[in-house]
Amino acid sequence: MLFADPIAAGPAAIPQDRRALVSLRDVRKSYGAFEVLKGISLDVGKGEVACIIGPSGSGKSTLIRCINGLSPIQDGSITVDGQEVNDPKLDKLSLRRKVGIVFQQYNLFPHKTVLENVMLAPLKVLREPRAQVEERALSLIAKVRLTGKERAYPGELSGGQQQRVAIARSLAMRPEVMLFDEVTAALDPETVKEVLATIRELAAEGMTCILVTHEMGFAREVAHHVYFTDGGVIVEDGPPDRIFREAQDPRTRQFLSQVL
């Protein structure tokens, strides 16, 4: 499934099983007195691609970090595959094995080669045999089209290449859902395409993806569902065609008129 042929453009058909893989209910989070998330609810089904758009400071990145427990929430509930993320008894390891995350700044390990970056977590966290991990790592590196760069250090790669290594590194843990936190925001326009192509392939293969993005064209193309957030709430959500063509809320319309 992971290595299926890439399908061209357009969101893949959502599988029949629409049981929510990721589910947020009235999630609230504050930094001190400042409330960043003021009651967010959303459901992302298995194989679904959800895009979160909205102005800077609307809490998009915070929201995505809450999903794998990087950022604790004050109220509400987040479940991933039925596991309550903020349950103090939760095995964080089992949660994070299911949820991969890719950051704006790639955050590759600068002292490790590309291959080592991809292999480190499966070797040390999952304690899988080296030969098996290496085989998977090499095919993931091929998948993100970086064959030949296995021995390179992150500092020797372009931003787009580093970001694709970061995606491969995350996939090496065989997650069930991938979170992308503005992964193209720090890239040159020409390398943005390479990264988006990689994500598009993943989405087409049925990987559940939640993206925070400023790439409206991309969101419109790959998303099954788009959420527009502003001021810590979801102002409007729906299929991309409806949001981008006939948004109801004036805030959504104003935002889209500025960015499109």
Binding site: R96, N107, A121, V125, G155, E156
Partner: protein, 278 residues
């Protein structure tokens, strides 16, 4: 960009570029210093009578002083090894998430860093017994040079602890976040991701403290540890305790330390400059 500079630095390290950086003029400075000191010694000998005997005394006693210097080096290496191991332990305690571990470690670190080395030396020399009795009846003797070594290790240990804490703090938070996102535990993150990146930042200050430590070992002469300065003083006594001996003997000591320490200092500066380009 941070990473390319790092890669470049690592590549140069592998090529031995750092050693090539010790240029001819560094060697020249060392030789010049030796020449000046010998000339000065000769001048003193010329003006203050019994010239042949003072120089002859230095030559006579040089092997004895050099044997003492070997002890300075042994104490410095041993003290640095102890300071490194304990300092890293203390530094790891300093970055612990548990206040019960972190706060005492921080206190000990600051105490060791901010005490005069001489006071620590006196404390250790007078507080430690001359031997340790083992429960089985065995005895481990603690000669003065061993106690002095422990005393020199303590302040450096505090500083290494602080180097580690500082280096860990300088690692971008993104490294911690991505490790956390990949399900690494805190211990695994430190071991595989954070600490390996701290080594290169820590090496220049670590070498700096080694140089300072070596330069402090003559303090052990206060307790008649037979290191270079102590042996030089004994030699001067034996040679008649004449004033004209002072300059050549002490210049010889300065040269010994200079020839050993200066290349380390130059190398440290090179590494610092290399790692500063980030």
């Amino acid at each position: 960009m941070r990473q390319p500079a790092f890669q470049l630095g690592m590549a140069r390290l592998r090529d031995g570029g750092v050693l090539r950086g010790l240029r001819a003029w560094h060697v020249a400075v060392v030789l010049l210093a030796l020449a000046v000191s010998l000339a000065a010694a000769a001048t003193r000998l010329g003006t203050l009578g019994s010239p042949s005997s003072a120089l002859a005394a230095l030559i006579d006693y040089a092997p004895f002083i050099l044997r003492g210097f070997a002890l300075n080096l042994a104490m410095s290496v041993l003290a640095m090894a102890i300071a490194t191991v304990l300092g890293i332990g203390l530094g790891l305690m300093q970055i612990s998430e548990a206040p019960l571990i972190r706060l005492p470690a921080r206190f000990v670190t600051h105490l060791l860093r901010n005490s005069p080395w001489l006071v620590i030396l006196f404390l250790v020399m007078y507080l430690l017994p001359i031997e340790i009795r083992l429960p089985g009846g065995g005895r481990i003797p603690l000669p003065d040079w061993v106690k002095a070594t422990l005393a020199f290790a303590l302040p450096v240990m505090g500083n290494i602890s602080e180097i580690l804490r500082g280096a860990v703090r300088l690692i971008p938070t993104g490294q911690w976040e991505s490790a956390e996102g990949l399900a690494f535990t805190r211990g695994q993150t430190l071991r595989y991701i954070i600490l390996p990146q701290c080594i290169r930042r820590g090496i220049p200050p670590w070498m700096n403290w080694y140089a300072l430590l070596t330069l402090s070992t003559p303090m052990a002469s206060i307790f008649s540890v037979h290191e270079a300065v102590s042996n030089a003083q004994a030699s001067m006594e034996a040679a008649g305790a004449r004033p004209e001996l002072l300059l050549p003997f002490y210049l010889f000591l300065l040269c010994l330390f200079f020839v050993y320490i200066y290349p380390i200092a130059v190398w440290t500066r090179l590494l610092e400059r290399r790692y500063a380009v980030r």
